[in-house]
């Protein structure tokens, strides 16, 4: 299996050798232009020697820098300024800060969050505290400079602290134009300023939004390539099959070739098929998030089962081309979803779409993101009568009515209240039509999406919330009670928040 090794890293040869040992075929590409004309789904290892401050990277550099300072001068290490620091940066900062504090220097570490709660971090943190390093957690910063003295004002939302220092060490990565060029050539979705991982290091180190591209930050390895090879090889071999048992599918007959899906897909899984004058999904890159399904202005994209050949060893019925638990709600009643339809059915489907008939529903309907809310729904809604509307491909859930109460301190869920749950692959898979249709059959509708920065599909949670807000405003314009529609940001450990939001939604209120 070919693996593209991109970048001019000093570790490139060693990586290629390690990939060969794993019986893969590395192909080196040095420039962004060299990536042109390569199949888009080929595995790519993006080697990147992060450009970090030498004061934390080079031995003795920090000591040399402070040697010219006055004894009372403060040294400030600034972490997480643009994005959360990679754990290896946190280790280096803590080690350096401890050494300077041992030498009787006033050392302060400013950080926004610590997401490396492993033993090594705990040990380094404890030692640093013992040596006298001050840690300040901030939410916002103001930095001004006057004649070589930096004044840093750190705020945590309640208090603020001001520190003057002649040595302010920004421990963030300096932007790399080369990395930006590679990202552009690979069509990698990045955050503002070209950051690839954003605040997601804690979720999956080295993951990018494109399934076949792994970012290897060589600064984090300290030369120990073998440490990451097993996981890297496993990820590469997984690329032989689609990520999910269902993928998005563009009906070329309906596609308006508008490029909206191409522009919004967080995984860059759609590309133009000029022969068909339509967009086409690359099954191997599609993560089945449903964002394109929800946003397609021509309603031309739906889910289908991934192709049998690609799935290989899956059972026949899972790869039959039947619809695979599509994010429903606005699907046509003739229900001819799935692989490319033919003949009269296709023609009819292209032209007309029945508005779903109003059906009797429960008190509350919740669209739950499978990556967060759906996982905790059972626990959170204990006591209510929960019905799962459609179980997505490959997922299983058992929610049974259990006695009221539960083991939380907040208000118990009311017994026997009907709550319908529709799992969705991402908040971004929920569009306004789905919510408006749900409002026709249910008293209340809530959408539960992942927390800020935690969406594995980059911005599906934000897209969903924007849809909710727009629909609420339109409901207001029509004189309806927009409080019937609400949303909550949640996560797999936020059972009580989900429960509280659901109970508030039932009562006609909203989470603030």
């Amino acid at each position: 299996m070919k693996v593209i090794v991109v970048g001019k890293s000093k570790y490139r040869d060693a990586f290629q050798s390690a990939l060969r040992d794993a019986e893969l075929e590395p192909v080196a590409v040095e420039t962004a232009a060299g990536l042109k004309n390569l199949p888009e789904e080929l595995p790519v290892v993006l080697l990147y020697d992060a450009n970090l401050s030498p004061l934390i990277m080079e031995e003795g550099a920090a000591e040399k820098a402070v040697s010219v300072l006055k004894p009372q001068d403060a040294v400030v290490f600034l972490m997480d300024r643009d994005e959360d620091a990679n754990p290896h940066i946190e280790y280096r900062v803590l080690e350096t800060a401890s050494r300077l504090a041992s030498a009787k220097r006033r050392v302060t570490v400013l950080l926004r969050s610590c997401r490396a709660p492993d033993e090594r971090f705990d040990d380094l943190y404890r030692i640093a505290r013992q040596k006298g390093v001050t840690f300040i957690r901030y939410e916002s910063l103001d930095i001004t400079e006057n004649e070589g003295i930096y004044t840093v004002v750190a705020r945590d939302g309640k208090l603020s602290v001001s520190i003057d220092t002649p040595l302010l060490v920004d421990c963030g990565e300096k932007p790399s134009w080369e990395l930006q060029e590679f990202s552009d050539a690979l069509r990698l979705r990045t955050y503002d300023g070209g950051r690839i991982s954003g605040n997601r290091w804690f979720l999956n180190q080295g993951a990018t939004f494109k399934r076949n591209v792994r970012l290897v930050d060589t600064a984090a390895l300290s030369g120990d390539i073998q440490r990451i090879m097993p996981a890297l090889v496993k990820d590469i071999l997984a690329l032989e099959k689609p990520a999910q048992e269902k993928t998005a599918f563009v009906d070329a007959e309906k596609c308006a070739f508008c490029y909206t899906c191409f522009r919004v897909c967080p995984h860059s899984a759609l590309g133009p098929d000029h022969g068909a004058a339509a967009m086409k999904v690359n099954d191997l890159l599609c993560e089945a998030c449903g964002i394109c399904v929800a946003i397609c202005p021509a309603s031309a994209i739906e889910f289908k089962a991934a192709s049998p050949a690609a799935l290989g060893d899956k059972p026949a019925d899972a790869a039959s081309g039947e619809p695979a638990g599509a994010a429903s709600g606005d699907k046509p009643t003739d229900d001819t979803l799935g692989n490319k339809p033919a003949g009269a059915a296709a023609e009819d489907r292209r032209r007309t779409a029945e508005v779903p008939k109003e059906t009797a529903g429960g008190k509350l309907k919740i669209f739950c993101c499978e990556n967060s809310a759906f996982i905790i729904a059972k626990e959170a809604l204990a006591g209510t009568d929960v019905k799962v509307e459609s179980v997505p491909c490959g997922k299983d859930i058992e929610i049974e009515p259990v006695p009221c109460g539960g083991d939380t301190d907040i208000e118990p869920a009311p017994c026997g209240v009907n709550i319908d749950i529709e799992p969705v692959p991402c908040g971004g898979a929920v569009n306004a039509a789905m919510m408006a249709n749900a409002l026709r059959s249910h008293d209340r509708v809530m959408v539960a999406v992942c927390c800020e920065d935690a969406c594995r599909h980059r911005d599906g949670n934000k897209r969903c919330i924007k849809q909710v807000e727009r629909l609420k405003s339109r409901l207001d314009s029509l004189g309806y009670d927009s409080g019937r529609l609400s949303y909550v940001r949640t996560g797999v450990t936020m059972v009580e928040i989900f429960k509280e939001a659901a109970l508030k939604a039932l009562a006609g209120g909203e989470m603030k």
Binding site: T260, A298, D330, R351, E354, A436, L475, S477
Partner: protein, 220 residues
């Protein structure tokens, strides 16, 4: 392409209040691409208007409402409706209305301009269809559409730091023309006076017609 935006939903509801069965006709071309009147928007509107429970809606999506053959596919649906809500541009709405004798055809969109898609959800005006293009003289930037006053021989006094006095978010069209000609090394073109123009090719000549006689064998 033609760029449009949806009318406020309460305005649409008001115009439809007298009709029980409404056919919502989306349009599959320009207004689909500009996220105003495609099938997805039509379904969303139908779901929203159905909340009252007093009206019935059906959504159809002709490929284009500006070609009779595509409209003909839906004659039966039109007959069964009390009114048609057309989600096409103004041309499509009128063409639909011509076809639907005795049936009210109501616009769902405000047709805005001929423009381009600069990003997801962002379009800007580029052409006013004046019928006499001079883009070769102005570096490919249209003074009619992109200068707020449609000046032909340089900016007015309201151009400041490259922005237009009408709205500081609007780039001065003549600044754009200057910058573009400079980049092409064609600033000498600015010395060429563009004479007062005959606007009869534009709206001043009344509703316009176009015929390609070479493809017509029988006069209509």
């Amino acid at each position: 392409m033609i760029v449009a935006s949806q009318k406020p939903v309460e305005e649409i509801r008001e115009t439809l209040k007298d009709y029980k069965k409404v056919l919502i006709a989306a349009c599959g071309t320009c207004v689909t691409v500009c996220l105003a009147g495609g099938e997805k928007e039509a379904k969303e509107l139908a779901a929203l208007l159905s909340l009252s429970g007093e009206q019935e809606f059906k959504v159809v999506t002709p490929e284009r409402q500006c070609d009779a053959e595509f409209l003909a596919e839906f004659d039966k649906d039109v007959r069964q409706a009390d009114a048609v809500l057309s989600m096409a541009c103004g041309a499509g709405v009128q063409f639909m209305a011509e076809r639907c004798a005795g049936k009210p055809v109501i616009p769902a969109l405000n047709t805005s301009f001929l423009g381009v898609n600069r990003d997801v959800g962002y379009w800007t005006e580029m052409c006013q269809g004046c019928g006499n293009c001079i883009l070769e003289k102005t570096g490919g930037v249209c003074p009619v559409a992109r200068c707020s006053k449609s000046h032909f021989n340089g900016p007015c006094g309201g151009s400041s730091n490259g922005k237009c006095e009408v709205d500081p978010s609007i780039d001065c069209g003549w600044q754009l023309i200057y910058d573009r000609l400079k980049s092409l090394n064609q600033l000498h073109r600015l010395y060429e006076i563009i004479p007062p123009r005959d606007w009869s090719t534009s709206r001043d000549g009344g509703p316009r017609k176009l015929r390609r006689t070479d493809v017509v064998t029988e006069e209509v």
